[in-house]
């Protein structure tokens, strides 16, 4: 029986509505409990800010396209190298670090749970192998359904039960966690070198629209009682004027779940653009935030852009080709049969570039204009907007208008005419930051009941202690101290074990993969469905080899749900 007592912690735990109370936290066998015995090991937090372990609800750290980002960019690998040290392995990479690099850097920042934002089911085994080599975080993966032939055919046939059946079977086969739609319909169109411009275009051959795909998948998601909602990367990412498409998409979303949102819209910064060309490109964050504020059924994440070099990677193949034609750097693409696509393009966001400066402003505006922090999650869509190691700087920007103004003075001078950022004086507080970096993620992902994202008795003991005394600090002025504190914890504790101490990562953490297995009525079980067998012959792998066996996974936790079908 391993016991630990964290004394003198200044706790912010939004799920339990605790805001800056000095308290002790008791841990037994990896879980938070009411109290422990006198023999418990003691950590004296000394009044330092203590939060539940950080959760990234949209990041790209493991799998085929992530690894391609590494493989094609030795220059990025050289830009972030560390040697083997104690129990820590050597790492490489700046914007796309190796598995160990991701794991150590997230852990040093207090993160204990990550969600890989996009996994093609046929490549799921690869993602799980990388999860196994990401030792200091629990992990889960979104499964891509944006161009799934079986689903598009079922939607065309008006067979909603079959849509749900295919989702259920595929999630369990891929050992995935949630439904991801990336540019729904657009990735299939890209199989012919074409794209979808907005939600009412028809997908070539399949003749369904993104509107129909999104609506049907939301229904399937809720009928399968999945923990998370549909996780959507809207159509038309990254083009001037795309905000109208985003607003249209938001208008499609009913409010179907009283525990969480019905739609998670990811990296919305990339979808909040006005103008008709790059010449009159401008921010439409106010319109997007207005829509969000009126729709509690939607949660977004920022997709903040930060200046510097990074690597873009997404299932949105056509978008990456367009990006390549703007940047002329190098271009990788990987279309996935019957399912989706993907692309990888390295980029540099420059302050001297007006478009990049406006993009930087939009992400911040969304976070500052969203009234409810539970509805706007802090991300960079790592590494698309910036590598996740930039999160502390983003926290600094959100907490300090002074810091924003200081950076604003260095960006393209036209930016002030294209964005409302300088007119916003809101500064987020510690509680709101705690919501936006862990609590809102736990709620949005539907994992509070699994003990994630909070510090109440019964929770998994994932805890981050940051070297900062919040009572003594004015983040509005002393933002540099805030940034430093969030860059490196004193202690990161995962499952009751100290996994990182002052940036030095130690030991392992029984890192666990979370996946869902929806139980459907026998008539909808596709394991022995002759039509589905026939459909599978369109793949180049056998159905039996497509399924990721549970024993091929690292430690894992299956979330069984019962479908309402």
């Amino acid at each position: 029986m391993a016991e630990l007592l964290i004394k003198n912690a200044c706790v912010i735990d939004p799920i339990n509505r605790i805001n800056g109370e000095m308290m002790d936290i008791a841990v037994r066998d990896g879980m938070i409990v009411e109290s422990v015995g006198p023999a418990a090991a003691v950590i004296d937090a000394g009044g330092a800010l203590t939060l539940p372990g950080g959760i990234d609800s949209h990041t790209h750290i493991c799998g085929t396209k992530v690894n391609f980002g590494r493989y094609m960019s030795p220059e990025d690998m050289r830009a972030g190298r560390t040697t083997r040290r104690g129990e820590m392995h050597a790492t490489s990479g700046y914007s796309v670090p190796t598995c160990y690099g991701n794991s150590y850097r997230y852990s040093a920042m207090g993160y204990t749970t990550v969600l890989e934002g996009a996994m093609a089911p046929i490549g799921a085994r690869h993602t799980h192998e990388e999860f196994a080599h990401t030792p200091l975080q629990d992990a889960m993966a979104n499964v891509l359904f944006d161009g799934n032939w079986g689903i598009m055919q079922a939607i065309r046939d008006g067979d909603q039960d079959r849509v749900a059946a295919i989702v259920a079977w595929t999630l369990a086969a891929a050992k995935g966690f949630a439904i991801k739609l990336t540019n729904p319909g657009g990735t299939e169109a890209w199989g012919w070198g074409k794209n979808i411009t907005c939600i009412n275009d028809r997908v070539p051959y399949f003749e369904v629209t993104p509107t129909e795909i999104i609506r049907s998948m939301i229904r399937a998601n809720e009928s399968l009682n999945l923990p998370h909602s549909v996780h959507l990367h809207c159509n038309n990412l990254g083009t001037p004027g795309n905000y109208a498409c985003t607003l249209g998409t938001f208008d499609l979303v009913p409010d179907l779940n009283d525990k969480r949102q019905t739609l998670y819209a990811t990296h919305v910064q990339f979808h909040s653009y006005g103008g008709s060309t790059w010449k009159d490109f401008c921010s439409k964050s106010e319109e997007i935030a207005r829509s969000l504020n009126a729709k509690p059924q939607i949660v977004i994440d920022m997709g903040q852009v930060m200046f510097g070099k990074t690597t873009t990677m997404t299932a949105d193949g056509p978008m990456e080709f367009n990006l390549y034609r703007l940047h002329h750097n190098k271009w990788s693409n990987h279309d996935v049969e019957l399912e989706t696509g993907s692309g990888v393009v390295p980029v540099t966001y420059r302050r001297s570039n007006l478009v990049n400066s406006v993009m930087w402003a939009i992400g911040l505006e969304l976070a500052l204009l969203a009234r409810n922090p539970w509805q706007c999650i802090l991300t960079t869509d790592n590494p698309n907007g910036a590598p996740f190691v930039k999160y502390p700087e983003i926290i600094g920007l959100l907490m300090s208008q002074k810091y924003r103004s200081k950076i604003f003075a260095t960006v393209h001078p036209q930016t002030e005419h294209r964005t409302p950022l300088q007119a916003i004086d809101r500064e987020l507080d510690w509680y709101e930051i705690a919501v936006m970096t862990r609590a809102a993620q736990a709620k949005a992902l539907g994992i509070i009941d699994l003990g994630k994202g909070h510090l109440g008795p019964g929770a998994i003991a994932d805890i981050a202690i940051y070297p900062i005394q919040i009572k003594d600090i004015d983040p509005s002025k002393e933002y540099e101290q805030v940034i430093r504190a969030f860059q490196q914890t004193n202690y990161t504790i995962k499952g009751g074990n100290v996994v990182s101490r002052n940036g030095y990562c130690t030991g392992t953490s029984h890192n666990t993969t979370y996946w869902v297995k929806p139980e459907v009525p026998a008539a909808l079980d596709l394991d022995h469905d002759p039509e589905f067998e026939k459909y599978f012959q369109l793949y180049t792998v056998r159905k039996s080899n497509y399924i990721v066996q549970e024993r091929a996974l690292h430690l894992n936790r299956c979330i069984e749900t019962e479908a309402s079908l």
Binding site: R125, W192, V541
Partner: protein, 569 residues
């Protein structure tokens, strides 16, 4: 007489990959395919012996008259004979000149040596004891196992059906001739062996593992090479060993598609999974690749012959174009064959790019032996595709220009993508060579040739690639696993391996056994060991265990070596 040498796969050579001790392997890899006109000039008729010489050495081959080879060229099957005369120079790419190498050829009275003779000439000692049989265990009676993944080439066909009886595989259905040969091979090595005074002695696993750990721990410039013939889990442990001892870990890519990876690192890779090609492609291009010999079911499963969802009549509606320096088996079944002069691929890519860009007028009368008219006609076919797929082989990576050839191929695909849909897929050779790139990359950041001697992972093909390190005699200890450099590395590398502690980890006696100091046999992945492999299009598949092992697998042997090193440190 001076001729241009190209070496590559043949079907017969491929069938003998797991029977290298056999006379047939020696016979099939000592052939020399030559145009009758050149034979005539040599004063030879039909099948006679010739001595082929380069600045690195000479040996005897047997001629085969072949009109498929351009006059002025010769084609040699890859293997120990070709490599006996191959200079180790890689032009800082990691891959030597397996192709477009000028050689001197003359008739001779001498007979070809055997493969073992060649390895002994390189400083080794043959291991040609009688077959020791098969260490696998099957259930009683006869068992059929379906959907087995074939561990032979990068196609990773997953529809093989095996019949198992009496502790061995007795039948292999759906597989190609190479697959059959591998699954039915039984001449495994049963116990570890150690070379003592030039003779082989049996030892136990404990001693073998301790020896290997001691050698690696005390070496100053250890190299861990191979990995394409084992599963991902073993590869990851290999990386951890390299990190622990400050060694270099490299895989077979460095001599095959390493230059493709260098090109991808310059310009990227517009690719797709093979099902995209199967269901959509109406134009298929094989360039410097001969799938009929090296990936026998590639055309029937993925590209040319299978039903495609978006094609009415798949076979009739697809156009197959082959670009090659010789009329390969694949060229013979293609709709279009474009024969390029050896070393001329780069120029032909450039010409096609120019035509696609609308600059027909700058194309000269001929480009590397291809007429202007033909180039324009082919470019029209390419542009007329709804979905076009390029498959590029080691004809591009191992010939003059190396990675720049592949770069130009990617840039042609980029150019075509502005008009219609195009993708490109390198024809990865070993079943899990792409897996080595995947695991090495997520573990270290780099796909091959990773040097940990400075503590950090450092990658520089040409410097940290196996052939370069061995030919410069930097390496002072080597582990060979899942590959056979004895058959596939230039002579100078093997000569160096024969002078240092070299440990082979492999289920079968192989050519490298001869130049090793120790051989540790292991269970064979796909037969009595299991793990992940990556197809040539990055699809990960679980390679099954179909019988019970009596030997440890690669992962277990490596884990024990890792633990022994760590304990002694």
């Amino acid at each position: 007489m001076k001729l241009m040498m190209n070496s590559g796969r043949t079907v017969k050579q491929g069938e003998q990959l797991y029977y290298k001790e056999s006379r047939e392997y020696s016979e099939q890899t000592s052939l020399c395919f030559i145009h009758p006109f050149d034979l005539f000039r040599l004063g030879i008729e039909g099948s006679e012996n010739v001595e082929i010489e380069t600045p690195s050495g000479k040996t005897v081959f047997k001629t085969v008259a072949s009109e498929d080879v351009f006059p002025g060229d010769i084609f040699l099957p890859c293997g120990p004979y070709t490599n006996f005369i191959l200079p180790p120079k890689t032009h800082s790419t990691g891959a030597p000149d397996f192709k477009t190498l000028q050689v001197e050829i003359r008739p001779t009275e001498k007979e070809p040596l055997s493969a073992w003779d060649l390895l002994e000439a390189e400083g080794g000692a043959r291991y040609d004891g009688p077959s020791e049989g098969c260490p696998t265990r099957s259930p009683d009676g006869e068992t059929k196992i379906q959907d087995v993944v074939c561990p032979l080439c990068g196609c990773l066909c997953d529809d093989i059906e095996l019949t198992i009886r009496d502790n061995r595989i007795v039948a292999c259905d759906n597989g190609c001739t190479l697959s059959n040969a591998k699954f039915l091979a039984t001449n495994r090595l049963i116990s570890p062996i150690k070379k003592v005074d030039g003779r082989w002695e049996r030892i136990g696993y404990d001693e073998a593992i301790k020896y290997t750990a001691d050698v690696l721990r005390t070496a100053e410039r250890p190299l861990l090479f191979g990995w394409s013939g084992t599963h991902g889990e073993a590869q990851c442990i290999g990386v951890s060993i390299a990190e622990l001892i400050g060694g270099t870990i490299d895989n077979c890519s460095s001599e095959c598609h390493g230059p493709s990876i260098m090109a991808i690192q310059e310009v990227g890779h517009p690719g797709c999974t093979l099902g995209q090609v199967r269901n959509r492609a109406d134009v298929i291009v094989y360039w410097g690749a001969n799938p009929i010999a090296a990936h026998p079911r590639h055309m029937s499963r993925y590209s040319t012959y299978p039903d495609g969802f978006f094609l009415d009549n798949s076979f009739r509606d697809r156009t197959v174009i082959v670009f090659d320096v010789r009329k390969s088996e694949t060229a013979k079944v293609a709709d279009e064959f474009v024969q390029i002069k050896s070393g001329g691929d780069y120029a032909v890519f450039s010409a096609l790019r120019a035509i696609v860009r609308g600059k027909e007028e700058i194309i000269p009368e001929t480009v590397a032996g291809v007429s202007r008219e033909e180039l324009i006609r082919i470019a029209k076919i390419l542009l007329g595709a709804r979905f076009g797929a390029f498959f590029t082989g080691i004809g591009l990576t191992q010939s003059r220009g190396k990675y720049k050839n592949v770069r130009n191929a990617v840039e042609l695909v980029d150019e075509l993508s502005r008009h219609t849909k195009y993708t490109l897929t390198p024809m990865r050779g070993h079943w899990n060579v792409y897996g080595t790139n995947q695991t090495f990359t997520y573990m270290t950041g780099y796909p091959y040739a990773v040097d940990f001697s400075h503590g950090v992972a450092y990658f520089n093909p040409g410097e940290t690639s196996a052939i370069d390190m061995l030919s410069k005699k930097e390496v002072d200890a080597c582990v060979i696993i899942g590959s056979d450099p004895g058959a596939h590395f230039p002579r100078a590398c093997n000569e160096h391996l024969a002078t240092i502690p070299t440990i082979v980890i492999d289920p079968f006696p192989i050519m490298s056994t001869a130049i090793a100091t120790m051989h540790i046999p292991v269970a064979e992945t796909g037969v009595d060991a299991e793990g992940t492999a990556y197809r040539m299009d990055a699809i990960p598949l679980w390679v099954k265990k179909v019988m019970e092992p009596t030997q440890p697998d690669d992962a277990e042997v490596l884990r024990r070596i890792y633990d022994a090193i760590k304990e002694a440190m």
